[in-house]
């Protein structure tokens, strides 16, 4: 209803009204930009120097003004006017670029990118808006949205095996072209996929917002590190211990806080994650403090290390198989370990969803009061989800430690939690394949733009906001009921 009225009001606006809108928009942008973009500080020792960059600032605001104007035209009701306006304003933006580029000197590249982002955004928005009008189209768009999730869910049956197949042969391709970076990237992506799937149990299935997931990751990593360095245990011996320890931490934390409502829980878990990090940072005897723990045992293949010169009394992997030594072997081995662990997580999650406990999680996510009325114990059910999610976090943490050979508290900060949560949420909470797609987009994509580290995080934050506004349920949100009473009632 409101959307329809809003749409109608937008469509019937006159040109001066649109211009007024754009002017207000530009004025607000200018006011926002003046203090922080217009001025900047450089410091030499203890003396600050103030610089101005009004040129780029006015340029940016000008681009925003034209973009807003173009968008208003594109939303107007006359179809032809709409297209002409769109093309015209796109040309105007381009002209503006050419005309004003002389004003700006060093920030050229950034401003160029900025302009292009605005132009593309306007074009996309204008195209989407011109295809729909009012509430009817909006309703269709939502239906399209759900059907996208549903289509992927249907395709998942074929996509899943296909994806696993590609994942299985990928390292051979990388070995063939001798690209160590590709295998590294694969390992990184699967680590995050595993973390995403682990957190998906907590956030996606049970609907508990956990902002401190990295704490369990850290517990797993430090468990293996300490066991390896102090006791000399190997990766496979420690893995169950790390999982169990992380799960116990999950229960320990979850027990007092799980009766809290969603956003309180989020903040408490965040606090817990920070507490773990600060403790690790200051616990010099066991955790090595800020220096972290180094010299963690790298993985070995049934006791055969991946080294060129194995220690006395052991055979190395390449000697046993009588092949030439290559550092790729260890990378590929690591890749298969994390692939196995990730698939294990996925398989476990898919199976447990069909058990009473898994159904209880999803029911609890949808309506806690109804669950209580039906005799489900909310605390125990949530606690299980929390502990299982934590356990997978612990496994992934152990893997991280053996992969890196060195860990420090800096690897386990809040940003890491936010990234894992973003993967789960952007993928569509509860969607397993969504996690994979979101990881490839969020981790794989930016990995190629390492040099632009700060811009990468800027885009990351902006993307989180935009995707939430565009699809509050996540990219592939599709809540397929796991059980149906009347199979013919599919439309409901």
């Amino acid at each position: 209803m409101v959307a329809a009225v809003e749409g109608a009001r937008k469509a019937t606006r006159t040109v001066p009204a649109m211009a007024k809108d754009a002017v207000i928009f530009a004025a607000v942008s200018l006011a926002l930009a003046i203090p922080l973009v217009g001025f900047y500080i450089t410091d030499q020792g203890s003396t600050n120097t103030l610089h101005t960059r009004f040129g780029p600032m006015f340029y940016g605001v000008g681009v925003l003004f034209l973009g807003k104007l173009a968008l208003s035209f594109a939303e107007s009701s006359e179809a032809i006017a709409r297209r002409i306006a769109l093309i015209g304003s796109a040309l105007a933006v381009l002209w503006f670029v050419i005309a004003v580029t002389g004003v700006v000197q060093d920030d050229n590249q950034v401003l160029g990118w900025f302009t292009w982002i605005v132009v593309v955004a306007v074009a996309v928005r204008g195209w989407v808006e011109s295809r729909r009008s009012g509430a009817a189209a909006r309703a269709i768009a939502t239906a399209e949205g759900t059907s996208l999730g549903a289509a992927v869910a249907r395709l998942g049956r074929f996509l899943g095996p296909l994806f696993i197949g590609i994942a299985l042969v990928a390292p051979f391709y990388a070995a063939a072209i001798d690209d160590k970076r590709l295998v590294d990237l694969g390992v990184l992506i699967f680590t995050y996929i595993m973390l995403g799937w682990g957190l998906n149990v907590v956030v996606g299935l049970a609907g508990l917002l956990d902002l401190g997931y990295v704490a369990f990751y850290a517990v797993g990593a430090y468990t293996y590190a300490v066991f390896s360095v102090k006791l000399g245990l190997n990766f496979w011996e420690t893995l169950p211990v790390a999982g169990a320890l992380a799960a116990s931490f999950g229960i320990l934390l979850g027990f007092p806080v799980l009766r809290l409502r969603g956003d309180y829980l989020a903040i408490v878990t965040l606090g817990f994650g920070e507490i773990i990090r600060i403790i690790l940072l200051n616990w010099a005897e066991l955790a090595g403090g800020a220096q972290g723990i180094g010299g963690i045992e790298r993985p070995s293949f049934f006791g055969m290390p991946f080294t060129a010169s194995p220690p006395e009394g052991t055979t190395s992997f390449n000697e046993f198989f009588n092949i030439e030594f290559s550092p790729m072997h260890r990378q590929i081995y690591l890749y298969y370990i994390i692939l196995l662990l990730a698939l294990l997580t996925n398989w476990f999650t898919l199976r447990i969803r069909k058990l009473p406990i898994g159904r209880a999680w999803e029911a609890l996510r949808e309506d806690e009061i109804a669950c209580r009325a039906l005799g489900i114990n909310p605390t125990n059910t949530k606690l299980t989800a929390f502990a299982i999610g934590a356990m997978f976090g612990g496994f992934a943490g152990s893997f991280f430690a053996t992969r890196q050979g060195f860990i420090s508290p800096e690897s386990f900060n809040f940003l890491e939690s936010a990234i894992i949560l973003a993967i789960v949420v952007l993928g569509g909470m509860g969607s397993q394949i969504g996690v994979v797609i979101a990881t490839i987009v969020l981790i794989g994509g930016p990995e190629w733009f390492r040099d632009l580290a700060a811009y990468r995080m800027l885009a990351f934050g902006g993307l989180m906001v935009l995707i939430m506004i565009w699809r509050p349920e996540g990219l592939l949100a599709h809540r397929e009921p796991t059980i149906r009473m009347h199979s013919q009632k599919r439309s409901a």
Binding site: L32, I41, I267, Y455
Partner: protein, 305 residues
């Protein structure tokens, strides 16, 4: 005793800063029931606007402390309030009717965005104020060679906080805007039916919260003399802890919670260990939520089916 008194003074000053930030959290939570995760970064932006205003004022030769202070206060509040407004308009308003998690995640995204935005446009190094604007102190007492001092800066901070708190409480209790706000807090749909402009009221709530956070940012900068793009994260979490401890949704609660968190942090650092001072604040948050989820001055929330 002298040492204790000195820590008490420091704690009250730190608590005032947390209290000012906490009000923003508590008001927003009270009215739309979301944790405005980006509020800590709004506080950080307030600090940055202040240091830039300070340098601009220095560049045009305006160095008379009271006037400079007043101008910095007004400018920082104005620009930061605009940031608060824009954040609400862009990231939260489109999500007002969606599920509970969406605005929170949008807020986390906004927080990451703002941090990196400031890092890019102002640089990652921390910015130091250089010469303090207000220097000097009063010696209150001296015992066993330990002098208890209260700096003029500390007096200014506490007085400023008290003035703002009184003004703010009057705003909420006596003006039409405050009445609208309280109406929206109780029942948003009913308030809308009775002619309250809900969107405008919510926007103004964000604006007021951001303005107070700007004051906190300014005071932080003047007190510690240093600011960086990451400062909002920890300060924000602690201020949120303060809001929860005091009872979220309650204004005096936010101030009380801020004071308590400030005092706890300072005393913890003074008597136990500096390294674990952040743990103290988080531990308080967890304990408060476990044993008294409604906070010290909060009303119990009744969940209706």
């Amino acid at each position: 005793m002298a040492y204790f008194l000195q820590q008490l003074i420091n704690g009250v000053v730190l608590g005032s800063i947390f209290g000012l930030i906490a009000i923003g959290y508590t008001m927003v939570y009270g009215i739309i029931g979301m944790v405005n995760f980006a509020h800590g970064d709004i506080f950080m932006i307030g600090g940055f606007v202040t240091i830039i205003t300070f340098l601009v004022l220095g560049a045009i030769g305006l160095t008379w402390a009271p006037l400079a202070l007043l101008l910095m206060l007004v400018i920082a509040m104005g620009f930061t309030a605009l940031h608060g407004w824009a954040v609400e308009r862009v990231a939260y308003r489109p999500l007002r009717t969606s599920n509970r998690l969406a605005p929170l995640i949008s807020a986390i995204g906004m927080s990451i965005f703002l941090q990196n935005y400031v890092q890019i446009i102002q640089g990652a190094r921390n910015k130091a104020l250089g010469t303090p604007l207000i220097s000097g102190s009063i010696q209150l007492m001296e015992r066993d060679g330990f002098a208890v001092q209260i700096t003029y800066m500390q007096i200014v901070i506490v007085v400023l906080t008290i003035v703002l708190m009184v003004g703010f409480t009057m705003l909420i209790s006596n003006t039409a805007l405050g009445r609208n706000q309280r109406a929206c807090e109780q029942d948003m749909r009913m308030a809308r039916l009775l002619g309250v402009d809900v969107d405008r009221t919510i926007s103004l709530t964000f604006v007021m919260g951001a303005a107070l956070a700007a004051v906190a940012g300014m005071v932080w900068l003047l007190y510690y003399g240093i600011i960086d793009f990451y400062v909002g994260f920890l300060a924000g979490i602690k201020a949120f802890s303060a809001a929860v401890l005091g009872g979220i949704g309650s204004l005096p609660g936010a101030m009380l919670g801020g004071l308590l968190i400030g005092l706890i942090e300072v005393f913890w650092s003074a008597y136990f260990s500096v390294e674990y001072k952040d743990v103290a604040a988080f531990a308080i948050l967890v304990l408060a939520l476990v044993f008294r989820p409604t906070g010290l001055l909060g009303k119990p929330e009744i969940e209706k089916v």
